[in-house]
Subunit: 339 residues, 4 copies
Amino acid sequence: MIIQFTDNATIKEKEEVKSVLASYSFRTRGVITGGASYLVTVGSEELDIRKIGNMKGVSDVHRVEDDQKLVSRKWKVDPTIVNINGTAIGGEEITIIAGPCSIENSEQVATVASFLKQNGINIMRGGVFKPRSSPYSFRGVGLEGLRSFHEICSSMGIKVITEVMDNEQIDDMYDYVDIFQVGARNSQNFTLLDAMGRLDKPVLLKRGLSGTIDELLYSAEYIFSGGNERIILCERGIRTFEKSYRNTFDINAVPVLKRKSHLPVIVDPSHGTGIRSIVREIALAGIIAGADGIMVEIHETPAKAVSDAAQTLDFVEAERLFYNARATWKFREQLSLPV
Amino acid sequence: MIIQFTDNATIKEKEEVKSVLASYSFRTRGVITGGASYLVTVGSEELDIRKIGNMKGVSDVHRVEDDQKLVSRKWKVDPTIVNINGTAIGGEEITIIAGPCSIENSEQVATVASFLKQNGINIMRGGVFKPRSSPYSFRGVGLEGLRSFHEICSSMGIKVITEVMDNEQIDDMYDYVDIFQVGARNSQNFTLLDAMGRLDKPVLLKRGLSGTIDELLYSAEYIFSGGNERIILCERGIRTFEKSYRNTFDINAVPVLKRKSHLPVIVDPSHGTGIRSIVREIALAGIIAGADGIMVEIHETPAKAVSDAAQTLDFVEAERLFYNARATWKFREQLSLPV
Amino acid sequence: MIIQFTDNATIKEKEEVKSVLASYSFRTRGVITGGASYLVTVGSEELDIRKIGNMKGVSDVHRVEDDQKLVSRKWKVDPTIVNINGTAIGGEEITIIAGPCSIENSEQVATVASFLKQNGINIMRGGVFKPRSSPYSFRGVGLEGLRSFHEICSSMGIKVITEVMDNEQIDDMYDYVDIFQVGARNSQNFTLLDAMGRLDKPVLLKRGLSGTIDELLYSAEYIFSGGNERIILCERGIRTFEKSYRNTFDINAVPVLKRKSHLPVIVDPSHGTGIRSIVREIALAGIIAGADGIMVEIHETPAKAVSDAAQTLDFVEAERLFYNARATWKFREQLSLPV
Amino acid sequence: MIIQFTDNATIKEKEEVKSVLASYSFRTRGVITGGASYLVTVGSEELDIRKIGNMKGVSDVHRVEDDQKLVSRKWKVDPTIVNINGTAIGGEEITIIAGPCSIENSEQVATVASFLKQNGINIMRGGVFKPRSSPYSFRGVGLEGLRSFHEICSSMGIKVITEVMDNEQIDDMYDYVDIFQVGARNSQNFTLLDAMGRLDKPVLLKRGLSGTIDELLYSAEYIFSGGNERIILCERGIRTFEKSYRNTFDINAVPVLKRKSHLPVIVDPSHGTGIRSIVREIALAGIIAGADGIMVEIHETPAKAVSDAAQTLDFVEAERLFYNARATWKFREQLSLPV
């Protein structure tokens, strides 16, 4: 059950509701997000919900069968639009996020940011703390690089998305990040998810390497129930037996996530394939299947990129993709496809 | 190496070429298809190919690094168009194949065939020998049903595609089948593939449940090297850890197969998802990613279908899909997408 | 439900039972094996089974919840012992099957057979029809080789197990084979399974590359319900994301299969690993986990083997394995481990 | 390359070595563990290593081809024995770790600890911070529970192993933990691995849900190269298509890890199966395949356990397992099995 309180519900009214629920052996969890105040109940739920709905301070009650309640579309039918200072994800415009795998230096940031600006794109990705399988690989330019990344971008009106790997990094990163990314390897790092729930900035949550749809939604529920409802889901390919590509992009996940959850869904065809020459096809496939946008790796000279060179588009390829992606988005509207 | 002989090459000339190749320790395999006569060589290949190219009776020589040589695009750059009595797969028109999972009776065939006819579709699918995990499940109407299936369809100008499970069935089926389908569970049934190679009818080859891209192309190579070059590849979802869907549709396979092979590629979003409500999105994703067509399960009343009800479209859903699929095909042409 | 008839039940009595069952909307399947005559029913099963148990000609009735009824341990509690002319699989002695991946020539057969004889092993494996991913790979010595393989072995009292790939091969192979092997790629070749059900020789059924426990038991049910109860299950590794080994040997399958089914279970650590140096450890692990025996690839000079060289043991390694395997079997008896 | 310095090497001597290596374009990483001081080099490595070996302050130089250098057996041939205040893991005695999935209360700890003591077991497992898919599940008794867990155990001479989920927890946990466990979901949490490298307590590192052998060894390399060489690897089952068990225990990993690395390997048959009735078989299989020990979940009344009830042994089952495990260990010594 999800109980939404009225804006002016008093503490006493809320406690009253909790107490009634407790008398029916429900466990409850209070959730206060930027937008509203809720109680989520877990329990056997054999109770006439009108009993709660009629209580003072209660604006709405929903019975939600899904285990992931707050992120479920069974509770919230309308899609969530995540706003980042005027930029919307999940709304009527396609979201395009692009940038290098790793931030390398200011020149690179400036070059890519200008390129994005010219192409009307206002969210730039770039890793500064890099999760790498080997301890001897390049592990990112760190905080210093992030500051310069953010400075250049913000001066051009471009938002910054970058990966956070650990709770200890959050405070230092906070001022220089517009969207926090939780990476595939941290998709079930629950203390990090808890911390993301306490943030007042949006979070892009990647699906784990072998994460199920249910687990991804549970991880999103961690963030939402922690108090942050500005969550973006990201399908980025899963690990299978097939070794012709780095990962197997799971296109089924796109319409399934859109149906199960009200949260926006972004696709990452760069990691989803690991193969530059098919990134465009998979990006467009993701869009036509219902995604709210794409996130792709680009670099002025992919061959010189310090990481992920094989899946990174050059600027010519990127422009073609942006053009095609927007055309596909428009085309999809005519089909009135998803959900 | 692939050596193509001229149309009027004599047996003696061919033997001469083989003998030179043998002197360089190459193993050779002679391949005669409806279209041409080839020698495929397997070996260390350190030989100036001009030496062979200049011999009498030789029209062309190619060094092909891929292990799957005859189906490789490195050998044959232009896409293969498979002709079935005037219907082309792999050409400028989208291919749409539709029909029930299982053929049930003549009324059902007539109803579906009429529906397809009205929608301008001229290939109908329908299983008469059904591969079923359990021996106690319905295993198809068999040969008698196939005859009636074919009779009704051919009277309406509709081609029949159905699955062959065993070499012993081929002769009996031959007159009533326009395209033989090799199912996912038989994707590495090599004696069946050998037999398909000896056929003069087209073969639609499904990828195995856990078949790799390489294995699918090897299986196609079996058929081609056996003498039949009219092969259609079919991506139908793979088996992964994810249990929210029956199979995980591998969208990456579409552009990868199109790049590696000259053979047409069809997608099967019905088996690729197992979920009726997302069949359309995945079908369109497959098309935009470069597929030459789609194969979908439809039924007048899916709830009454004897098999695969959960993934079968009703006629309203099917019409919407056909309409969208054709629009997406046209849209893709403007993007000039694949390869 | 499984209804076992008395040995002298008349046709009329059997028809009477069927007719009663039909009146309760049960579908039935008659099964006659070498050992007994049964009716298997499929249906909603709300019937007092005593009603059937009291009918003439009925010796026993069991309600079996498992979908795979005849191979279920819920029906037949005692383990099945498969007898092959005096050699028992599934009984009190460990079964050891060994031999080359592919039969190469008579000398090789004689060498291996003598080695086995010296080591008290009386079942020899060896492929003569080889399922190979590539059509250009060595595909076996064929029927001629099988004859000589069988002749040498039978003269030494050694039984022959070899893979059958197709129904068309069965008749020709019949006289020269003591145990028919159904390979992993044919694990769901249902027409082949049907044919195995009509045979009066034992069948070793390998699990498919991505075959589930349930599918393996269903495939066994095909054979049993076809009339052949002499079935041996074989775990040989499954396909996963891990590429450090050819396959991932699924040790869990051993105790799970032993608990679910009364059929004997053999492990194949050669294919289960693809790595010669760990074959022994995995073989012993399989035994201690409850397997009834092992099947391993051996060759006098593995480096010269025409196939599977990397996973084939030489004679020294093989002897060490045989010695260890028997010791582990004895040790397990003291622990009184499985089931 | 791994360069080990002599105990009394001066800073100047070390800098001299680094400088020579830098002149050959090697990147180097200094590693100081409790036991010794090393330089690990990453680079193209075309250098006569005697040149380095003859320098002052250098005790030993090894060329190591493996990417995971410090944990590789190619560098350190002898197995590592991890000592925890007198208790050794990886030595001549089998290691048995047991305890509940979750610590519940003092009575439970006392009951289990006494049971372990009676059975001669001196490492107890028990989660106090629980990684749970759902935010609404029980997430552990936390630090307070850990203190009491440790107090009871230490008074009985039993060591405590528990999972750490986050860098922020380390300081608070430090005094109450004898072995830090990094869980499967944190197997590639690189900042946590870095922190583990700075610890002077042993770390048990679990393989990820879909972690490869290489990734597990890389994660161990993080810890070792961070300065902590007291690492224990743990195989706990991987995620595959098979749904008859919670995870698929990867028995191949045991001998492969033992061959590739000098670190001790523990198996966790509880998570590796998720099925109480086969835990014992899989534990014994792990031992015979070369594991240095086992970690199992036990509870006085499994049905009442707050988590993982289905895979938890009761005390009778546990005693039988301990007895069998020790017998199998002794039996393995006679076979002189691994490596």
